[in-house]
C-alpha cells in the first residue's frame, strides 16, 4: 500500500483521515467472476488516477479502474474539455490514450504500485478493436472493463453499446483472448438496457456496469455557442442517478451476473439505493473531484451501516430496512 503520510512538521487532514477508517469488521466482499473485491466500491473510469495514491487510503477501495485504453495512441478533444452546468458536470475529454504499449510502459506500473486490483478499461471504435487491446495488455491488470459507449465506425457512428449484436461480438472476441473477468460498461441511450445486458451475459461477460455518462450538448448561456470544443459531452453527477437507477433495476432483473452501478454516487446512501434495486457494487465518478476521498467514504459508510445494524451483509441490511 502506498502510505498516506502527512508532513510530520505540519500535519494536514489526510493523516487523521487515514488513521480513522473504522474497523472493517464486516465482510462486504463481492465476486466479479474469478476476482474478489474486499469491498463493493471502486472508482469510475476516467475519474481516478494513481496520483490519488498519496491523497487517500486507496487500499480501502475494492479496485482501481483506469481511464479507457484504446488500440492506438491519440490525443484528446479540443478545449474546453469539461464544464459544470446546473444539470451536472459535462466532459468531452475524449480518448487521450497511449495505446496498450504506452499504457503498460508509463501508467500501469503506477497502478500496480497501488495495493488494490487494477481493472483496465478498454475501448474501441469498432467491435473488432477490443480483443487486440486486451490481448496486448496480457497478464496485466486484474480484470477488464469494456467501455462500449463508443461510436461504432462500422455502423454509422451509433454506439457499439446500444447494439446487442455488436456487444455480443465484442465480448465473444475478448473472451477468446483472456481468462480474466470481463465487465461490460453499457451506455444510457439504448432502446433496451435488458437486451444489452443479456447480450453481454450470453457472450460471456462476468458483470455489467450500468452506466456511462449521458451525451449532452451544453450551450453557453450568453453566447449560445457550444461550451465544449467537441460540442457534445457526457453528463455525469447526481442528476443522472434517477435515470441510471431505473437502468440498474432493469438490468438486474435481466441478468444473473453482477451489475455494477455507476451514476451520481456520492454517499453510502446512494450506494444503498443502487443495492436496493439489485446492484452488487458501485463506482464513484464525479464525486471524487470535489472530495478525493468520496469513494473511501462510501466504503466506510457501508461498513458503518452494517456494523450499526449488526448485520453481516448488505442484503441483510436492506432486508432489515425493508422489514421496518
Amino acid at each position: 500500500m502506498v502510505a498516506v503520510r502527512a508532513d510530520t512538521e505540519f500535519p494536514d487532514a489526510r493523516a487523521a483521515y487515514a488513521a480513522a477508517p473504522g474497523a472493517a469488521t464486516v465482510d462486504l466482499s463481492v465476486r466479479i467472476g474469478s476476482l474478489t473485491l474486499h469491498t463493493p466500491v471502486m472508482p469510475a473510469s476516467g475519474c481516478f488516477g494513481p496520483e490519488l495514491g498519496a491523497l487517500i487510503p486507496v487500499a480501502e477501495l475494492g479496485a482501481a479502474v483506469t481511464k479507457t485504453v484504446f488500440g492506438s495512441a491519440r490525443g484528446g478533444n479540443p478545449v474546453h474539455r469539461l464544464t459544470e452546468i446546473p444539470a451536472g458536470m459535462v466532459n468531452s475529454v475524449g480518448i487521450p490514450s497511449r495505446g496498450p504499449v504506452g499504457y503498460l510502459a508509463t501508467l500501469h506500473p503506477r497502478y500496480a504500485a497501488l495495493d488494490v486490483p487494477t481493472i483496465i478499461s478498454v475501448g474501441g471504435h469498432r467491435p473488432s478493436e477490443y480483443a487486440p487491446v486486451v490481448a496486448a495488455l496480457g497478464e496485466n491488470g486484474a480484470a477488464f472493463e469494456l467501455n462500449v459507449s463508443c461510436p461504432n465506425l462500422d455502423r454509422n457512428g451509433t454506439d457499439i453499446g446500444s447494439d446487442p449484436a455488436a456487444i455480443r461480438e465484442v465480448v465473444a472476441a475478448v473472451r477468446l483472448v483472456t481468462d480474466k473477468p470481463i465487465i461490460v460498461k453499457l451506455p444510457v441511450l439504448v432502446a433496451s438496457i435488458a437486451d444489452c445486458a443479456r447480450a453481454a451475459e450470453e457472450a460471456g461477460a462476468d458483470a455489467v456496469c450500468v452506466a456511462n455518462s449521458i451525451p449532452a450538448m451544453p450551450l453557453d448561456a450568453l453566447t449560445r455557442r457550444p461550451i465544449l470544443g467537441n460540442v457534445i459531452g457526457g453528463l455525469s453527477g447526481p442528476s443522472i442517478k434517477p435515470i441510471v437507477l431505473r437502468l440498474v433495476w432493469l438490468a438486474s432483473r435481466a441478468v444473473q451476473i453482477p451489475v455494477i452501478a455507476c451514476g451520481g454516487v456520492e454517499t453510502a446512501d446512494d450506494a444503498l439505493d443502487y443495492f436496493s434495486v439489485g446492484a452488487s457494487a458501485v463506482q464513484v465518478g464525479t464525486a471524487s473531484f470535489a472530495r478525493p476521498f468520496a469513494a473511501v467514504e462510501v466504503a466506510r459508510g457501508l461498513q458503518q451501516r452494517c456494523r450499526d445494524a449488526e448485520v453481516g451483509t448488505i442484503r441483510e441490511l436492506l432486508e432489515l430496512d425493508a422489514a421496518l
Binding site: 500535519p11 491523497l55 478545449v79 474539455r81 487521450p96
Partner: protein, 315 residues
C-alpha cells in the same frame, strides 16, 4: 424601452465574450510550451480542511479569502494553485472544485498557523456559492498544485505583469523575488483604479508598481507595450531590461509579454487557465493550448503548468 436596453446589453456582452475568447485563442496559438524539467522538486499535494480566517470584499469587485493550512503554506511554490471544494449552498450543489491561484503564502509562526490568501471574482455559479460561505467554518482544499513561476539562479531583476484577478497568479513570484533580493517591477492592470488588486502587497514586498487601467487608457496593449519598452530601454543602469518577464492575465497579455521578451532577449513565463476537474493530472480535462500532433495527448495545464514558457512562434 427597458426590454430593448436589456436585450442590447445582452447582445453586447455576448459579443464581448466571443471577441475575448477568440482573441485569447488567437494570441495563445503557438505561443506556449512546457518548460524543461524543473530544478526544485514539487511539493506533494495534500487535501486539508482549512479554517476560513478571513472572507471579505477586496477592492470593488473581488473577494479575499484567508485559509489556515500550515502544511500548504509551508510547501507552496510561487504560482501554484489550490482546488477549492465549494460547499453546497441553499440547495445548490457545486460538483467541481474551482482552481484558485495562491496569492500570498504566510508560513506558520510560533503562535500562528500558516495561511494562504486567495482572491477571486464572483462571476458564475461556483464563485457565487463560494461567496456565501461564512467565516469560521472550514473549507476543503487540495494543493499546492501545478508547476509555478521559477527564477533561474542569478536572476537580478524581474518584470511581473498581472491583470485583474491574474495579479494573484504572479504575486507569489513577487514574494520569491523579495526573498531572493531580485529587483522587481509589477504591472497592475485592471478596468478601474478602484479594482486594482495587489497595491498593498507590492508595498509590503518592496515591489515597484506600474498601475494601468482601462479608465485612462493606460492599460491599452499598444500603450502599455510602448510604455514598458521605454521604461526598460537600457538608457540608464536603472532602465536595463529585466532578466525575466512573468505574466498572468488574458492570452493577449501573455503575447504582449512574449513580444517584450523577444525584444529584450529574455525568457517569459506565462500562467494559463483551463477548466479543471481533478487538478492532479489524471482527468485530462485541462488540455493546454500547445500544438501537438493528433496522435499525442498534449500537455495539461494542471500538471505541466499552469506556468508555461511563452515565446513568439517563428513560423
Amino acid at each position: 424601452m427597458r426590454a430593448t436596453a436589456a436585450a442590447a446589453a445582452r447582445r453586447e456582452a455576448a459579443a464581448r465574450a466571443r471577441a475575448f475568447a477568440e482573441a485569447d485563442a488567437r494570441a495563445l496559438d503557438g505561443l506556449v510550451s512546457v518548460r524543461p524539467r524543473q530544478a526544485v522538486p514539487r511539493p506533494q499535494p495534500v487535501w486539508d480542511d482549512a479554517e476560513m480566517l478571513v472572507h471579505e470584499p477586496a477592492g470593488e469587485r473581488y473577494r479575499r479569502l484567508v485559509l489556515a493550512s500550515s502544511s500548504i503554506a509551508h510547501t507552496a511554490l510561487a504560482g501554484q494553485f489550490l482546488m477549492i471544494t465549494v460547499p453546497p449552498h441553499a440547495g445548490d450543489t457545486i460538483l467541481l472544485p474551482r482552481p484558485m491561484a495562491i496569492h500570498r503564502r504566510r508560513p506558520a509562526t510560533a503562535d500562528q498557523p500558516g495561511t494562504v490568501e486567495l482572491i477571486y471574482g464572483v462571476v458564475g455559479r461556483g464563485t457565487r456559492a463560494l461567496a456565501a460561505v461564512p467565516v469560521g467554518g472550514t473549507l476543503q482544499v487540495t494543493g499546492p498544485l501545478g508547476r509555478g513561476f521559477e527564477f533561474e539562479t542569478g536572476t537580478r531583476s524581474a518584470l511581473l505583469i498581472g491583470r485583474g484577478v491574474g495579479i494573484c497568479g504572479v504575486m507569489g513570484a513577487a514574494e520569491d523575488a523579495q526573498a531572493a533580493g531580485i529587483r522587481t517591477t509589477m504591472v497592475l492592470s485592471g478596468q478601474r483604479p478602484e479594482q486594482l488588486l495587489g497595491r498593498a502587497d507590492c508595498a509590503e514586498l518592496g515591489v515597484r508598481v506600474i498601475a494601468v487601467t482601462d479608465d485612462d487608457g493606460s492599460s491599452d496593449l499598444v500603450t502599455l507595450s510602448a510604455g514598458l519598452r521605454a521604461e526598460f530601454d537600457g538608457a540608464t543602469p536603472e532602465r536595463t531590461p529585466p532578466d525575466v518577464v512573468m505574466v498572468c492575465g488574458a492570452g493577449v497579455l501573455a503575447r504582449l509579454a512574449a513580444e517584450l521578451g523577444a525584444h529584450w532577449g529574455v525568457p517569459v513565463q506565462a500562467s494559463l487557465e483551463a477548466h479543471m476537474a481533478c487538478g492532479l493530472g489524471y482527468c485530462h480535462g485541462c488540455a493546454a493550448p500547445v500544438r501537438t500532433d493528433a496522435s499525442v495527448e498534449g500537455p495539461l495545464v494542471c500538471a505541466d503548468g499552469p506556468v508555461f514558457d511563452a515565446r513568439i512562434p517563428v513560423d
